[in-house]
Each structure stands twice: as structure tokens, then as C-alpha cells.
Amino acid sequence: MDKSFEFAFDDIAWCPGCGNFSIRKALIAALDELGLDKTKTVIVSGIGQAAKMPQYLDVNFFNGLHGRGLPPATAIKAVNPDLTVIAEGGDGDMYGEGGNHFLHAARRNPDITLLVHDNMIYGLTKGQAAPTTREGMLTPVQVNGVKANPLNPLAMAISMDVPFVARAFSGNEKQTKELIKEALEFKGFALIDIFQPCVTFNKTNTFKWFKDNTYYLDKKYDPEDRVAAFAKSLEEEPFPLGVLYRNIGRTTFEEGLEVYKKNASPLTERKADLKKLQSIIDSRR
């Protein structure tokens, strides 16, 4: 069997020139280079252009409801910690409809990688504002321009102590790939917010705009200082790229589960213990 996650889908539904293609390449390369076993890898996603990603890889997937990627991803990893679990979706998917799950996944800290395609727009539904859309953008719904503050996913993640918080730009496939690899190898909840030009609906935040408005954090930057990371996350235009925050050592959700305290085998491999049930029942006599 071919080991690569590459998959020849006859008709990818993205627009020519969309940043999603680069993210797909970076993701496949990251998975391939890490030599992960695709039968033991699951991508969980919601609905949106970004969320179609797993359809275009040779991998297990749970392509669920809009906004609802994180809860199933958390359960999948908990039920079978041997699996590599990636959650993926758009800025609307993960920070809009799914915002609450993001907050509480951050509290749980499951060992999963979260990739958010941040195109600052709702792509699939044709160009309404996303939570990350910059102020003032005109859309068919925000006819007087977006008024609400854009959500700053990195600041929010750092405030929730998400232990790995990074930003990538799809325009740099190599850095994106390297960040994905780093996130996959990190133990704990790892967010990469990936700037991704939507060539069709976002005529403001274009490839060029992202390129002109981002810079790479240099080697000297210390991502382990939470307050400094917060300050860094507030920087805009240019936006820093790279790992902004890292907190090594937070216990993961799976590690905290009692079922794995004395027995490391995945829950899926265990049999129901009817004797114990019987003794619970008998205790009610």
C-alpha cells in the first residue's frame, strides 16, 4: 500500500489560485515526512471550504457539522490515543459557529492539532464577514463595512493557555509544513492559524497583502514567556508568523483520564466487565 497521504481526487472544489491548495500540499508533506501511518490518522473537520480538506487526502476522516470539529476530535483521541488526530476548518467554522468548543478544548488540552484556515472571510457561503474579518470590509451583508473587532485567535488562545500557538501563511508552503510538523509532534492542543488568501471573495487580504503584512519571528524570540507572547500576539500589520507561544508540560486530556491511569491500551480494545457491573448491582440489594 502506498504510504503517502496523497490522494487523487478527480475534482477539487476550490477555486484556482486559492491558498487552500498550498495548505493541502504542506499538510500532505508534513504527514509524509513524519512517516505517520495513515490508517492511524484521522482528520476531523466541520463545513466550509477549508473543512473540505480531508476529502482530498488519503486518510480516515470525520467530516461533521459546521463548527463542530473539536468535540468529535477530542473524543476520538480519548477513545483511541494511538491515533494521530487533526482538527481542521475555517475561521468561521472554528471561531464563529464553533467558538465555544475552541474555548473548552483549550481547557481540556487534548493532544490534537488544530489547523484553522484564516482567510478572513466566509468562503463557501460566498463572502460574508468571518470573525477574523478586518474592520471596514464591505460585503454583501456588511454593506456599511464590518464594525465588530476582528477576533484575534492567537491572543485568545494564549489567554486560554493553549500550549502551542502558531501562525502560518499558506504562501510559504515550507514554513507551513514545518509548523504543521512541529504541531503534530507537540504533545497537547496545538493551534496553527494559517493565513490563507481567498482569491474570490477577499479582495483586500490578498496574497500580496499577507506577504506584505507578515514577518517571521526570529530565532531569538522566546515563545515560553506567556505575557510577552500575548504582547506579540497583539502585533498587527505586520503580523508575526511562527510559534508565538509554547507551554511544555501541560497534562493532556487523555493523560488525565482515569481509564488510562493503570492501563494504557485504547478503550476500544477493552471488553465490558460484567462481573464488576454485577457487583455494583448486587450492592443495591
Partner: protein, 570 residues
Amino acid sequence: MSKKKRKEICIVLAGEAGQGIKTIETTFASILKQYGFHVYATKEYMSRVRGGINSTEIRAGSEPIRAFSEHTDLLVALLPEAIDHLQHRISTETVVIGDSEAISHPGMLDIPFGAIAADSGGKVYANMVCLGALCAFLDIPADFAEPFIEKQFSAKGSEIVANNITALTKGWEKGKSLVKKLPFTLDILRDSAIKKRLLINGSEAVAMGAIAGGCNYICAYPMSPGTGVLTAMADFSKTMDIIVEQVEDEIGVINMALGAWYAGARALVTTSGGGFALMSEGLSLSGMTETPAVIHLAQRPGPATGLPTRTEQGDLNLVLYGGHGDFPRMVYAPGDIEEVFALTKRAFEQADAMQAPAIIMTDQYLVDTYYDSPGFGTLKAAQKHAVMKTKAGYERYALTKDGISPRGIPGYGSGMVCVDSDEHDTTGRITESSMVRKAMVDKRLKKLNTIKQQTIDPVITGNAAAAIVIIGWGSTKNVILEAMSSKQLESAAVVHFPQVFPVPEKAADLLAKAKHIAVIENNVTGQFADLLEKECGTAIKHRLLQSDGHPFSLETVRNWITDFMKNKRG
């Protein structure tokens, strides 16, 4: 006047939250059972943590007891407000018991709970005084009760135990001195076989049935009266391999549960109406991705927040039709503790086998009720987990005769397990082909046929051939049966539906043959009667409905049925 000899008694304890009624209730129920009496207990309480006015009913007798009775023999009022609160249950036959320091009621038997408790070490022991008196009334020796108290309080140290026992004994003596004032004498038979029976409430029975069905994952967001199952599972997780997760909201709950099933676990969800409403979209996801789901819905009165701690059967329509689009589902409606256990287990087996959502509908009344139960028989392993090891080229949605595709899980075998909330082809990938769409709609519809074939038949008691048919579902099961005399059962069939959807095929026959049909259910429109009308094509005009937040009482049902049977037959 010679006193009436009674073979059973109905005792009601009423007081505010925090007064220790629960301790009396659970200890007393254990004592009764171990003494060899049949026992039954249920409660009603307010949506608050302290104060207010709550009550517990305990019935004891020579025969098994399974239903809520409004008739009250003894009303123990721990608070003056209790009298007012239970006014409608105080008849000429009711003996009110209270502490005349606080309460007055014509003919009340005075037990100075406060003073005796103070004598025994402090006011907190008032509930033990009460327990002692109750034992005396039922002619249970104080020293029979003592070990129960010791067990209960041993962790709190010997002084506390001693004080409790003192209070119990003094209460017992006081009670003994009052027995002669009771307007009846009790002649409850003791049966030592009863000791072996179980005291398990509806919530615990759901949890036990789930585990028997292979459940190893529960996720939920707290919501009365669904929370009891979460708590029971959490308790059982202390010795068993169960992942217990409280989720941020109900949408997270259902989606997390589907993730767990997808990965190979067997997950249970527990909630109430509002939470279930929030899960509607997720239910539809279960239908579309053909990922099993088991949801326990403990009903309470709606709409919206309604009466959070009270009972109703008003969420049937939501359960039948919630979620968008057409997809198959199974709905179980257990009527007593044994059925709760058996049907929850079955829900797991069927959800797994049919790859579809199964919903177990209980209500506050049922989850908070218990009685000495014969138990669940020998535990048998759940039907084999219907999961296969995949091969390369595995197709999650392969088309089959009965619409059910062999289900793989990720990491088990060399196939890829791809599930998709969009319309998908056999491999699980997104499609817009109308041919494939048709095939998949057809596949999902076929499953409904398979599910129909395995529907549980209605349970008929009484004269199956009678022209009078009295129908109930879920928690009305026993109140209907207990309300009817054996004479009445000779000329009527009582039909209980343990599974309400798909409506069992026998239902149509049953209704077609019947002349006089009545449905009894605890909601204001008659949702199950409507369903039967729709599925069986028979109009159901006679409905005993209720929607005040309380369970049906024996008396209400008895009166109504007697009237119904008279008028129909006369």
C-alpha cells in the same frame, strides 16, 4: 368501632430542601425491604437547593407496589407549609404527624421532633426521631433499624452514630405510644425473599443498562432530570472503564458522542428536553453519517425552561421529528426499572446494529422512583459489537440489501473510514451526483424497514380480545395496571408500548379490532395518541391527559378508567 386492617400503607414526608428527608427516605426504604416488606418510593421537589417544600412518598405493603398514590395514610409534616402544600392529599383517612411546637392541624398526632432531637444531641437528629417513629408505626423493632444507622453514619464517628441511635430509639418509643391512635392496624406480610431484591432508581437503571449494553463513554451537560444518569455513570466509573466527560454545552455533547462511536467506543448521552432540542442538528448528523448514538432523555415539563424538576411526557414529538431531513431512528419508552435496564441495553445493541440513533425516553417521575425490584436476571454480554476489521479499499457506505454497511473504525484494519455529513458516495466522500443521492436516500430508508422488523411489540395485560383498549407508554405503565381491578382487566386490554417508534405493526391490528380506545399520557395534547392516529389510521378520541408537572396518581387513573369503561360499555 373496630379498626380497619390494612395490608399496605402510604406515608408522605414533607419538608424543605435540606431538612434531611432524603436520609429518612433512603434509610427507611432499606429497612422496609430488609424487613421483608414490599416498598416503593418516589418524590417531587422544587427547582431550588434549600428551602421551598418537597415531599417523598413511601409505600409499603404485602404485595409489590409500583405506582404513585395520592391517597395518604400518614403525612409527616416537617414544616408548617407542608400542610398547605399537600392539602389536596389530606383526606379524612389521613393522619397528620407533626411537632406541635411548629405545626398545628386538627387531629394531628404530635411528635415533638425538635425536643426529642435536642435531647438526643441536637436538632439535626430530628429526622432520626421521625425514622424511629415510622418504624414503630410499622411494627419494626428499633434494634432492627439500628444497624442501618450504624452503617450510614459510621464514617462520621461513634458519637454521631450514638446520637443518631438515641434519637431513633426515642422516636421509636414515642411512635409506639401513638400506634393506638392510628385509625387502622397494619397487617403487612413479611417475605424474606424480598431482602434479595434491589433498590435501584430509574437513573441508576439507565446507567446499569447502558453498561450492560457495552457503554464505556458518557458525555453530558448537566440538566435536571437527566443529570442523575451522568452522576450514576460517574459513580460506576470508579470501578469500571468508562470515560466520563462533562461537556461545555449540549451541541458539544452530541458531537463528542458521535466522535466516540466513530472511533469505536459506545457512548451514552443524557439530557432533558431543552438539551435534546439543542442536539437536533447532531441527531441529523447521526442519521446522515450512520454513526450510532444513544440518547437518554429524561423529560420535564416545557416549553423552554418550564418546570425543571417536575415530570411530563411532552417531548415525544421532538424526539420523533427533531433533526432536519429524513433518517431512521428508534425510540424506547420503558415503564419500570426492569424495562429501563433492558431497553437501555437494547438501545445500545440496536443503535450499534442499525447504525442509527436510539433514544430512551424516561421522565422525572421514572428516574426518581424506585421499589424492590426482582432485578435484571443473569447478565449477558451485549450483542457483539458490530464493528469489522477493514481491508484496503474499504467502503464505509457500501450498498447492501438491508441498507446496513459493515462498519469499520479508524486504526483497526488497513481501510480508511471516511464519514461525511454531506451526501456522500459509498467511500464516504462528498458527491453531488443525483444518482448517488438517490441510492443513499434509498439506503437510509431501507434501514428503517430493518428497524421496523425488530421493533418491540406492545405488552398486553388483561383481556387481549376485549373491545376496550387502554393504552399507555413509558412511565404510565404501572399506574394503569395498578389502578385497574382484576374484574376490569377481564373486559379490557391494557396495552403498554415499551417502544414507541417505529410504531410496532401490531398496533394497527390492535386498534382496528378495538371498539373503545383510550390513551393515557402525561402531556396536554396527547402526542402518542396523535402518533397512533397517524400510523394506524384510527381516531383516538378518549385521552386522559395531564400537564401540571405531577405524575399520574392511582386515584386519577382509576376514576377515569372506571368512568370510561362504564360509559363505553353501558
